[in-house]
Symmetry: C2
Subunit: 343 residues, 2 copies
């Protein structure tokens, strides 16, 4: 138990250390370190020796030691507002796909659409000295904002586009999406258009605004036909709100839903109580979730490039971390209107 002062080779964990690799390769630890990290100043011959030694010993760096010594974490923090919304899963997957192979640990935080919770997560995760931050949208507390700024950690914002200046962001214009939705419905000859949104995050609001604006321009805006609730988006909620709206305003002839699950719920309830879709009411969803195209009738929706956003955001982060110049800090990934049977 009492290891006398034997030299550098006493190991607590069973894992080989850089020292052992170095010794096996017949070089100094620092050279081994450099060789393994691909620092250019090491002779190719030595590099090979070291790599072989590392392989033989089955050496893996100790992330803790590395982080401590270099004052650099190896993690990238990703903060999303929800996981139950299939939405962000695709994005997360793509991020993983890009970052993991590069040796980054991806720390996922779910802030449940709560600004305060996001602030907490941020504070907690900062302790890990993450190398990068991948955040969702721009709506956060002042403290959060300050923390991010003060931390000086590279940051990429996902889902929305920067209206103001200077931030790296990958997403699409939520406002435009709302406008597109309205235009589509209008083009179908609808006159009484409603918007139903849940969660009330910035993006849902923005889409609502785009929708409203277009209706106003067309002289068809009616504030009574705007249903917003902070409750979490779900199939059940969609059905509920749909029924309420139809009861209160039987003349509604088109509804744009802030998320597909809501729209799916509406479709289901419509079927249950015999409301004809799209004859009586046109239903348009958002995000084009997997089930939507299989609904009865098939749900028209605005398809969003969630996976592409994740990938690009991660790639952007990579160039940021490499210290390379960023060609386009603002990347509009667009969206696509999928017209199916429900409109």
């Amino acid at each position: 138990m009492t290891p006398s002062k034997n030299d550098k080779n006493t190991r607590t964990t069973g894992r080989p250390t850089l020292n052992e690799v170095a010794r096996l390769a017949g070089v100094s630890p620092i050279t081994a370190s450099r060789a393994l990290r691909g620092v250019s100043t090491v002779a190719t011959e030595l590099v090979e020796k070291v790599q072989k030694a590392a392989l033989d010993l089955n050496y893996v760096v100790n992330p803790a030691a590395r982080a401590l010594a270099s004052a650099q974490g190896h993690s990238v923090v990703v903060l999303v507002p929800s996981l139950s919304n299939l939405l962000f899963i695709d994005t997360l997957e793509a991020i993983h796909q890009v970052l993991r192979p590069k040796g980054f640990e991806v720390l996922i935080g779910n802030f449940h659409y709560s600004r305060d919770e996001e602030e907490n997560l941020l504070r907690n995760y900062m302790a890990y000295q993450p190398r990068g931050l991948l955040l969702t949208g721009f709506d956060r507390t002042e403290s959060s904002r300050r923390m991010i700024e003060a931390s000086n950690i590279p940051c990429v914002y996902m889902m929305e586009l920067d209206t103001a200046a200077g931030l790296n962001c990958v997403g699409f214009s939520q406002l435009n999406a709302g406008e597109t939705a309205a235009e589509h419905l209008l083009s179908r000859g609808r006159k009484r258009l409603a918007y139903i949104g849940a969660q009330l995050d910035q993006r849902t609001l923005l889409r609502g605004e785009g929708f409203r604006r277009t209706l106003q321009n067309a002289g068809l805006y009616d504030p009574d036909l705007e249903v917003l609730t902070p409750r979490a988006s779900s199939v059940g909620l969609g059905g509920e709100l749909f029924l309420q709206l139809m009861a209160a305003h039987p003349d509604v002839d088109a509804i744009f839903f802030g998320n597909d699950d809501l729209a799916q719920g509406a479709l289901l309830e419509a079927m249950r109580c015999g409301i004809k879709i799209p004859e009586q009411v046109a239903i348009l969803g958002f995000n084009d979730l997997p089930a939507s195209e299989h609904m009865v009738p098939r749900l028209s929706s605005i398809s969003t490039p969630r996976e592409a956003i994740g990938r690009r955001a991660a790639e952007l982060m990579l160039t940021l971390l490499a210290g390379n110049p960023v060609a386009k800090p603002v990347q509009d990934m667009g969206f696509e209107l999928k017209v199916r049977e429900s409109t």
Copy 2:
């Protein structure tokens, strides 16, 4: 840039260190460390002082340093087969909820139902010296198994129950669930019962086996009515397989689906082509996903305690990590048959 040999207080990062906290509190660093970790041997008076100092300085431990010094990671690795399956989201959430407050970093790995990918993840994550492992099921490669064993890291298995010996697991009997499904359908007077499963993971197979066994006992088993595919479970796939099955065997009068999304797809297609549910065919799902109760007709399903499993598994891990004795290494969380309109 060239910080002369000033003492312990030179900091590269802008963050306060334990030393500074200690100095502010007028104690030695180690006392501060103990105080902050809640080691009992510190005078309450000092604890308060230290905590105040830490608060004043906005001190947060450096996880890297802590990990290095204690040769103990602070992370728990969770490996799940899928994220797009809403299934595991609930479980992950629960795990987070339990582990994060205790200061554990939760590392999520998605192995996409691939044993090899799981092995890779395991190997990679081992570098972080995780304190614990939360794994899904028992079906993995020999190498994975050996790695787990050799690592000597506490491990809790989720979703299934240990048939053999000695493993800590939290889940329910997948076999029983399959039996329950068959019994229910049988009790409805159905004679031509089919099972449709995708993904073909161990648990899907197990449920199928339970289902089959019960049918065999009833003398009603027909291998032609067992549809298994390695493709990923989805609403679209469910509809597809349903249609195929009905075309090949128009006399089928009940179908048990390995996952709710498949069943939902079937319901949708049935509606589309006028197949009466449950009159002509009874449809039973599995997992009771959020949308199921809103389907038309409302989907009968077997509800699984995903959230409870996550919570309990995490709690079990906590007692394991605390070195406390485990009262019940095998925890059966059960499942519940929800009879609605589709059966």
